[in-house]
């Protein structure tokens, strides 16, 4: 595996274990050796953390392929034969299939809505000057400072009053509302970087504001839209707190993370964890595939969240 291969650019062999400390005061002639030591030093830590990070996830995936009794007898064992019983059990009896569909429906609505409303607001705030522009911008971005838990109790009753509690529409609209601050903030700064000349040219050619937005500015903003889209996709797909509070009617209506948490409680009574491991695996695999395919965009999209 490429993870453990040594650096081909390294022209001196890794030194022995004697010099494993951080080489802070090496003379110039020892530097190459020190680099080798550091390389071994670095790699051992990197591999160690890779095992730490991937271990629990791998263990669940492996356990999901083994019958429950085997996992109890030897938690560290490998599957002797592939058994898909856990998966079919999880998909049908444990309702994972249903939860997945629920999650997909909610996500389809909320992600579309977030991207549309977010980019509309951001575009106007970024490209037009009007009285109150600054105030609206601050209103949106100010939402980033407040912990969602402060709003949670009143939000529950706001939804109740609108008859949106325990409905998909309610979840969709709340997801959109709580994604707007960061989406707007991110996209405003993105739309500001786009060249203004294109917009003027479109206006001179007689394109309406709406048309300029949808046919010219949106395509130009694609990189930004993709980053924030991935950010919102993962955030909303993985959302736990909001459905935990606002979607508590029928257990059949649960979204995936909610359903898995409930499944854990339920399997605790039944004493069969195989379906749970299978459910967790099924919920992770699609995200894993998307992630490995778009790793660069995912990483930049998600880390953008910390730089606000």
């Amino acid at each position: 595996m490429s993870v453990t291969s040594t650096d081909p650019r390294q022209d001196s062999p890794p030194a022995g274990p004697g010099g494993a400390g951080p080489p802070t005061d090496d003379g110039p002639e020892r530097r190459d050796v020190a680099g080798g030591v550091l390389n071994v030093f670095a790699h051992s830590f990197l591999v160690l953390w890779a095992l730490m990070a991937a271990g629990p996830v791998l263990w669940v995936v492996i356990s999901s392929l083994r019958p429950h009794a085997d996992v109890v007898a030897d938690p560290f064992g490998l599957p002797t034969e592939l058994s898909w019983d856990n998966f079919s059990h999880a998909w049908t009896n444990a309702n994972i299939g249903r939860y997945t569909v629920n999650s997909l429906i909610v996500l389809a609505g909320s992600l579309t809505g977030t991207m549309l409303l977010g980019s509309m607001a951001a575009y106007v705030l970024a490209r037009y000057s009007f009285r109150g522009n600054r105030a609206v911008y601050l209103l949106f971005t100010g939402g980033l400072m407040f912990p969602v838990f402060l709003a949670l109790v009143p939000l529950f009753f706001v939804l109740n009053n609108f008859g949106l509690l325990n409905t998909r529409q309610g979840l969709i609209i709340v997801y959109i509302a709580y994604s707007l601050p960061f989406t707007t903030f991110f996209l405003v700064s993105f739309f500001r970087t786009l060249p203004g000349g294109v917009q003027e040219a479109a206006a001179l050619d007689g394109a309406s504001h709406t048309r300029t937005f949808f046919q010219i500015m949106m395509p130009m903003a694609r990189p930004g839209l993709i980053s924030i889209g991935i950010f919102n996709f993962l955030g909303q797909w993985n959302q736990f707190v909001l459905p935990r509070v606002l979607n508590v009617g029928d257990s059949d209506d649960a979204v995936l993370p909610q359903g898995l948490a409930a499944l854990m409680v339920q399997q605790g009574y039944e004493g069969d964890w195989g379906a749970l491991y299978a459910g967790v695996t099924m919920s992770m695999l699609p995200v894993l595939v998307v992630y490995v395919t778009f790793q660069r965009q995912v990483q930049s999209g998600l880390t953008a969240g910390a730089l606000r």
């Binding site: 650096d7 990197l46 996830v57 939402g143 967790v280």
Partner: protein, 339 residues
Amino acid sequence: MKDSPRGQERLTPRDRLLFTVAFLVPPRFTPDRVRRDRRYRKLDQRRFIAWFLALPLLVYLIFVVSPFLQAFFYSLTDWTGYSATYTFTGLDNYQRMIEDDKFWDSTVNSLLLLVLAPLITLALGLFLAYMVNVGGRRVGGGGGGGVPGSRVYKVVYFFPQVISIAVIAVIWARIYSPTGLLNEGLGAVGLGSWERESWLGGEVAVWCVLAVLCWSFVGFYVVLFSASMSSIPGEIYEAALLDGAGRAVTFFRVTLPLTWDTVRTGWIYMGIQALDAFALVDVMVPEHGMDVLPSYLFEKAFRDAQAGYATAIGVALFLLTLVFALVMMLVGRRERVEL
């Protein structure tokens, strides 16, 4: 932008009506009379602005701004949440909070996470990011994208970030369970005496939550810090090397100062994550044997029907977040280093 250019003739009542209509209907239904007016361009632009902002603002005001404002108000009432009536009780909820031992237990746990989670996560993140970026760099050679396989490391490390925190909690709840991986693992390496009947039931629960919190965010910071470290020009490292600086000195004198802004914002972000921790406690800790502020708020509001008191806890949580962010911004401020 001013309302209308000065010196322009005033609108007749009929024009005013037409302009108002034009503002409210889609562009294609604009009356010709208005369309030919030279003020139409301005109207068209304002109409566009208003229409595009209306829906996002409406949704935002109803579902985000109004609940936040209501929270401050309800924290001053004895509202149960399930009846329509409530009385204004002033600061009674806050008085009660100060005398509530469970509230203080939750606060202590939240503070513990707030202080330790960023410290551990960022330290590990910085260390691993430095190893990924600088570890494999050929001495004197400058440049290069870090150790071989650095991309693979980052992909693997980052993975916990893309799965739901609830799923992470489910996985770790199984690992911490009495017959789970942790106990089995301790037994396997001869540390059987360290095994615990219940990791998540006793006083170690908060440490278990802390460990999972750090575990799930380290990869995020490795990626974040890697990006900012790789933007440091190689010449600076070469210069440091020529001056005889070792790796540790280089890290503390060159890398850390040049990534300080990222570290600071990352610290604030991690603190806010640590103040949440709701999903971990809610899923992992049976019957909330251990509480953090958000989970205590949740219990009060949705189990004990004390919505008024719960919002008061929410206000406390908000103040804590605010103080933390302000302190971090003031304490962590440094001269910005221009590259």
